[in-house]
């Protein structure tokens, strides 16, 4: 009996030793870079105030990585996606960014639709030698808050307002009032729209700021909109937009309206009713396929599961499309730049960054929004924008503004920054 027990112990110990040695040898065995997958992190707003946007961004990122892997990955290496929820909060986003890089070992990070999260993560990206593609339109990201590791994946507020200002003055009105939610994104819209409308011969008679999450806009609108104002430029979304629209209609049903990107995103225009009839809204990606009817865009929609009207296939709900393309495109931009620069690991980041700086991409399924490039000086995405309008309860594209008309003089020169 004693002998049997001794044999069992010796057998168990031997087995454990063999297993440990095998694991150690496997872990220490040199691997060529080609065997290791390239890891991409996604900071999605899965919960919090921007939860609807996080859902669509995650779905699009998964589709892009699947598509990439089906085509052979990047430089022969497969791609793995790691998703973290930033809860739409800067403090959480910053922690999750570190987790993605330090725990999951991701090579690149994409997204966060939240300006606060994106701005908070910019210095961390540089500290951790990680190239980051935030999907937020805050002007600071391609301005004083960004750095050489940051490539703003979507168009920014300054481009959007510059592109829209001429159309606004020529077609909507000359005397404007701005109404924005009172935080950095809203304030940036107020500032940029005022600047460019004035440059185009219009005037801004009053600027109104309203706290985020306001359900009753009447106290901020009644008596605050001058009688001779012809149009309102507004920057709000979600319930703010719905409540603003209703209350503006109560105060000034006659006034024209132009909204910033995102206002009508994922909204059924027919459901918005009379207050929204005739409303204009900026977007960097048309909701309906008819607004950008190219083979590449159609294929992109088929892959991400969105029909020609902007409804998600399967749920028949309006999908948040506004900046989804800006989650999709950086993945294919990375593939092109990695294969061009010969990048194999983070040690090669300087060469990869230099390759991405000024890199142009042609419209197609990989770049469904159209031709675009990362401007070398500030790492801004330069692409065209659109003005949508609700006519008879349906969304139509009232104007397409080419990339050449959204370009402004860069505020910084990243190419002179050391790595």
């Amino acid at each position: 009996m004693e002998r049997n027990v001794r044999l069992k112990v010796i057998g168990s110990v031997s087995l454990i030793v063999v297993l440990l040695v095998t694991m150690l040898v496997t872990a220490c065995a040199p691997k060529s870079a080609g065997e290791e997958p390239i890891k991409i992190g996604l900071l999605a707003n899965k919960t919090g105030g921007l939860a609807a946007y996080g859902y669509s961004h995650e779905k699009v990122a998964i589709a892009a990585v699947d598509q990439l892997n089906a085509e052979g990955g990047i430089a022969g290496r497969s791609v793995e996606l790691y998703v973290e929820d930033d809860e739409s909060k800067p403090s959480v986003g910053a922690t999750k960014f570190r987790k993605l890089v330090e725990n999951n070992g991701v090579d690149f990070v994409l997204d966060s639709n939240s300006s606060g999260v994106a701005v908070a993560c910019c210095p961390i990206a540089k500290e951790l030698n990680t190239i980051y593609f935030p999907c937020s339109s805050a002007t600071e990201i391609s301005g004083d808050k960004g750095n050489r590791y940051i490539f703003q994946a979507c168009t920014n507020v300054r481009e959007e307002c510059k592109g829209a200002a001429k159309f606004a003055v020529d077609n909507i009105g000359k005397k404007w009032v701005t109404v924005v939610v009172d935080y950095s994104w809203g304030q940036a819209n107020e500032e940029a729209f005022t600047t460019y409308v004035t440059q185009n011969g219009g005037t801004v008679l009053a600027s109104i700021r309203v706290p985020l999450g306001t359900s009753n806009w009447l106290p901020y609108l009644k008596g605050k909109i001058p009688a001779d104002a012809e149009a309102v430029y507004f920057a709000n979304f979600g319930s703010d937009f719905l409540c603003f629209l209703r209350d503006l209609y109560a105060v000034r049903p006659d006034i024209e309206k132009l909204g910033a990107v995102y206002a009508i995103s994922a909204r059924d225009p027919a459901e918005l009713g009379a207050p929204a009839e005739g409303l204009y809204c900026l977007t960097s990606y048309p909701t309906r396929l008819a607004g950008l009817d190219t083979p590449g865009n159609k294929e992109y929609r088929d892959i991400i599961g969105v029909n020609s009207d902007g409804l998600e296939i399967g749920t028949d709900k309006y999908f948040v499309l506004a900046y989804d393309w800006a989650v999709w495109e950086p993945i294919f931009a990375l593939k092109a730049a990695i294969e061009k620069s010969g990048w194999t690991s983070k040690a090669d980041n300087p060469a990869l960054i230099e390759t991405l700086e000024g890199m142009h991409f042609e419209a197609g399924v990989k770049f469904p929004q159209g031709d675009m490039y990362y401007r070398a000086a500030d790492h801004a995405t330069i692409a065209g924008i659109y003005v949508e309008q609700i006519v008879n309860g349906e969304l139509t594209v009232a104007a397409a503004v080419p990339a050449s008309e959204v370009v402004y003089t860069s505020l910084v020169d990243r190419t002179k920054e050391p790595f």
Partner: protein, 287 residues
């Protein structure tokens, strides 16, 4: 200093007062729960939110919004019964612990709604699309109607608490729980009924507010802070104080927006709260 237009001022005061009645409903539920059970219900705003979400479902399933005013508070009240019995009862009378427990409940409610209802703001159609000219504004008749409904419910609540034997038992528990126990009142049953009643009031508030505020899984955060300020200033557990403070704060908020910026208005609300507490540390109407 902007010039003050009288019609604008009167409009803003009226608008604030009308909204105050709906907020009073929600705050009364919070005050009742604290008064009887000693529970600081951090999930109260989320119960309000669930009321709005369920109203949207009732509308979708039955095509009739008005049914939700009856169905939703009953459903919420029934859900509150096991919550009180199995989650909160061990902590009753210990406000600090109940805060932590109810924060947990609030997170669970939010995540369940996010997973099922989604994270998109949903538009609730206006069930009474009548427009009233109120000081040159095409004012929603529905807002006036919900103020009237809220007043009717508040009168009903007053009748229940002051004119029925069960209401007297609840008030007895608020005034002196130990004495009520000594007199043979089953305080556990009273607590359970009170939590259900408080939850139902929040749910009715959510149902009525849904077409005004739109429906979103975090919408509870919009009202919970204001309700706590109202309950504290009115006097913890004082129903009369809660009602008066709700009407006072909402009317003031409306009036202040004509001369103050949004940030200044928020600061002013807290300054008023601090001033009241400096002179009346237990609130305006606490005994």
């Amino acid at each position: 200093m902007p010039s003050i237009d009288v019609s604008t001022l009167l409009f803003l005061l009226s608008d604030g007062l009308l909204w105050g009645f709906t907020i009073a409903l929600v705050a009364l539920g919070l005050s009742l729960i604290f008064g009887v059970m000693g529970i600081v219900n951090m999930a109260h705003g989320d119960i309000y939110m669930v009321g709005a979400v369920l109203a949207l479902y009732v509308l979708e399933w039955t095509g009739n919004f008005w049914l939700s005013i009856i169905i939703v508070p009953v459903v919420i009240g029934l859900l509150c019964v096991p919550t009180e019995r199995f989650v909160l009862r061990p902590f009753e009378g210990r406000p600090a612990v109940t805060m932590i427990a109810t924060v947990g409940i609030a997170y669970i409610i939010q995540q369940v709604v996010l997973a099922t209802f989604g994270g998109m703001h949903e538009k609730m159609p206006n069930p009474w699309p009548v427009v009233i000219n109120l000081f040159d504004v095409g004012y929603s008749g529905y807002r006036v109607l919900i103020a009237v409904i809220s007043v009717v419910i508040i009168i009903g609540l007053w009748f229940f608490l002051y004119k029925t034997s069960y209401g007297i038992l609840i008030r007895a528990s608020i005034q002196d729980k130990e004495m009520a126990n000594a007199m043979g009142i089953n305080s556990n049953k009273i607590a359970m009924a009170t939590f259900a009643l408080g939850g139902a009031l929040a749910a009715i508030g959510g149902v009525l507010a849904a077409p005004v505020t739109q429906v979103f899984y975090l919408m509870g955060a919009d009202v919970i802070l204001l309700c706590f300020i109202i309950v504290i200033v009115g006097g913890l557990g004082s129903l009369k104080g809660t009602l008066i403070a709700a009407l006072m704060f909402c009317t003031l908020q409306g009036g202040m927006s004509i001369i103050l910026t949004p940030v200044e208005a928020k600061v002013a609300i807290f300054v008023i709260m601090i001033l009241v507490l400096l002179f009346r540390p237990r609130g305006m109407f606490a005994k």
